[in-house]
Amino acid sequence: MLGEGILKGLAQTAKNFAGSYVSEERLTTVQYPEERLPVAEASRVFPFLVFDGSEWLGGMRCVACQICEKECPPKCIYIEKSKDKKPDYVGKQQFYPVRFDIDISVCMSCQICVEVCPFEAIKMDTAFELATDDRFGGLLLDRQQLAKSNEYYHSIHPTEASEVDARLDEEKVKAEAKAKAAAPAAAAKPPAPAGGKD
């Protein structure tokens, strides 16, 4: 019969329309600002810098090694290395970034900076509500804007963050053991330059 196919299709849409009153499955709309979809744990938008403890500059894990700057495909990271050093999470003296800028108007959210970072310092954030009318001011993030606490990292990527913490703790234990082993050796040989092993 001519028109049968059309009627079949219309029945389908009618089923979906009526079904949307009773079934969650068929009512897919998310009323965005009031109601939000759960953010996936692996979700990534823009990078941020992790710091330990309460002070953002003191606890920053980044040692300004500039690997992410080199590997970043669209070249949206800019780092300036410090002249002096500060202790990092295992107590080793390290450089820190005096300047760490990410231009999020260029960033392509590819996560390669996170993958290449050997210090677990840069991670991906999940905040996406960043629309602004100020292109030159609003889209260039400096190191203070980028710094987020480890607690925040735990809140957005719990599984990944605990793994990272476990790894860092292990390293710390190893480093301490090494330091302990090195201390008697250093004491036995006083002429060796102090701190040279670091």
């Binding site: 070249k75 949206c76 990271i77 800019y78 800028d101 990410i102 231009d103 260029v106």
Partner: protein, 228 residues
């Protein structure tokens, strides 16, 4: 499927006077290619397509490659006649001297064709065509008349590399606009200086941004729109 050597032999048997050379591929993929001479290229390609055993009816990929001029330095031993005073007597002695010679191997543009067979489900056979140099002898014969698949791809190679395909029915620019002068995929292409605000510039990008700012400063306030 036949090996490259067998294909070469088959071509030489079928197309008299065909110039075919094997270009080896040192990589693990082992896809060696056949370099064709210009005169018989279309004949050879027709043979490859129509030969029932090869039946390469499907041209998958056409692309260009730009090989720049290479400066080759080599050490050559040269015999030279030197006049020497030996035991108070002047003599002419032949001596071997090391000499470094430099010569420039001219670069060329290359069109690469990847052929497969849909009928017999084998492949790839890689064909290469080379131009004389990179400036004025940039013609190679077109294979569009044999495989329509080459139509847009050869146009793209013409657009981006500047290889002129002789016999192509509609050789116009395809990706860039009409009136564009350069061939941007060539290795020595210089981009136009359209400066962009670069807050995170480093390495080459920083160099370019600095060059632009220096240029803008030299031109004064008039052309320094970006300097303001």
């Amino acid at each position: 499927m036949k090996t490259v050597e067998e294909i070469k032999a088959a071509i030489e048997a079928a197309v008299p006077g065909a110039k075919v050379e094997i270009v080896p591929n040192p990589g693990p993929s082992g896809e060696h290619s056949l370099l064709l001479g210009h005169e018989q290229a279309v004949e050879v390609a027709r043979f490859l397509r129509d030969d029932p055993e090869l039946a390469l009816d499907y041209l998958s990929n056409v692309t260009g490659v730009d090989w720049l001029d290479k400066e080759v330095t080599e050490k050559v031993k040269v015999k030279r006649q030197v006049t020497k005073t030996v035991d108070g007597v002047e003599q002419t002695v032949e001596e071997t001297v090391d000499e470094t010679r430099k010569h420039v191997e001219p670069g060329y543009l290359e069109a690469v064709y990847h052929l497969f067979s849909m009928a017999r489900k084998h492949g790839p056979v890689v064909l290469r065509l080379r131009t004389g140099n990179r400036t004025d002898q940039v013609e190679v014969p077109s294979l569009t008349m044999l495989w329509r698949a080459a139509e847009f791809q050869e146009r793209e190679v013409f657009d981006l590399y500047g290889i002129v395909f002789k016999g192509h029915p509609d050789l116009r620019r395809i990706l860039m606009w009409e009136g564009f002068k350069d061939h941007p995929m060539r290795k020595d292409y210089v981009e136009p200086d359209d400066y962009e605000y670069e807050p995170t510039a480093h390495d080459q990008v920083l160099k370019r941004a600095q060059a632009h700012q220096a240029q803008a400063a030299a031109m004064g306030q008039e052309g320094a729109g970006a300097g303001q």
